[in-house]
């Protein structure tokens, strides 16, 4: 749990920088060498390497085995972990709120929603009884 929390710290720190997010977006399209990653930026290669180190430490990217190019690769698992919580949180609340939508609808239109079945049965029984009485 503590380890997880520290991992998340590193992940959120790594994601907090626009250059690093741009690097991740680039790597999402495929592996790339440091030179290729540096190309679209006005930054020096050492500056890019510093960003890559932070991303690597956060477990968001890894370096390939090819000793010459050392292509960087995105590690989806850690990024998915970081985004999964907000998505789960949202999904849980959305499920709650959809039940609340139905409840609010029912409170406003007592005869038109899920109570309808019950009430209709009662009413039609009552109607049937009245008709019989006639």
């Amino acid at each position: 749990m503590d380890a997880t929390s520290h991992q998340l710290d590193a992940t959120f720190l790594a994601l907090a920088d626009p250059t690093r997010r741009a690097i991740l977006a680039r790597l999402a399209r495929g592996d790339a060498s440091v030179g290729e990653l540096a190309a679209p930026f006005t930054m020096s290669q050492p500056a890019i390497s510093k960003h890559l180190k932070i991303l690597e430490r956060a477990g968001l990217i890894s370096a390939g085995q090819d000793a010459q190019r050392r292509p960087r690769r995105i590690e989806g698992k850690r990024l998915a972990e970081a985004s999964a919580w907000l998505e789960q949180y949202r999904a849980v609340w959305e499920a709650n709120f959809q039940r609340l939508d139905r409840l609010l609808d029912e409170l406003q239109h007592p005869s038109s929603t899920s109570t309808r079945a019950r009430r209709t049965t009662k009413r039609s029984r009552a109607r049937g009884a009245r008709q019989k009485a006639r």
């Binding site: 749990m1 998915a80 985004s83 499920a95 039940r99």
Partner: protein, 171 residues
């Protein structure tokens, strides 16, 4: 009558490194939405959490200084967790502020330090009520721990989420 009941799905954002914010609109007058958030008999009909969970405890004394306790139980394995706290501001039908402490029960996890502060506001426009709730965990550490707790209780890592995040990042 055939209008869809859901207007927009819940938006969840992190307005600062200490906070999480949830925004949702409902097709109902504000007074009614406020009741659905503050009357226990109504609350326990919708605040049930993920599928397969029930809400055995929903006690709420909604007045300044009054306390509340909510608990949830997994119907399959019997595991439980809850939240409890006290109401700090109660302004029907527009605003509620309460403290929130996580009760790990048998689920575990949680966040260190002081209770979170939860501020909920309701505004109405043309018959649509918008609820905004902001949870202030007090520190980045506490929020991240809450994040970790949320993760361990769910833990299914979906690579579709990654696709979506990447789309956001590259937009």
């Amino acid at each position: 009558m055939n209008m869809p009941m859901t207007i927009d799905k819940a938006q969840v954002t992190q307005p600062s490194e200490r906070e999480v914010k949830v925004v949702r609109s409902f097709r109902a007058p504000r007074a009614l939405v406020y009741r659905a958030f503050t009357e226990p008999a109504l609350v326990r009909r919708w605040m049930l959490g993920p599928p397969g969970w029930s809400m055995p405890a929903c006690d709420m004394d909604v007045r300044v200084g009054g306390r509340y306790r909510w608990s949830w139980r997994n119907d399959t394995d019997g595991s439980e967790f809850g939240f409890s706290g006290a109401f700090r501001e109660v302004q029907p039908p527009s605003r509620i502020v309460h403290t929130e402490a996580y009760e790990p029960g048998t689920v575990g996890g949680g966040y260190p330090g002081q209770d979170a502060i939860v501020t909920t506001t309701f505004t109405e426009d043309a018959g649509v009520t918008t609820m905004e709730t902001t949870i202030d965990f007090g520190s980045k550490e506490a929020r991240d721990a809450a994040v970790a707790t949320g993760m361990t209780s769910g833990m299914e890592q979906s690579y579709q989420l990654l696709d979506r995040l990447i789309t956001e990042l590259s937009a």
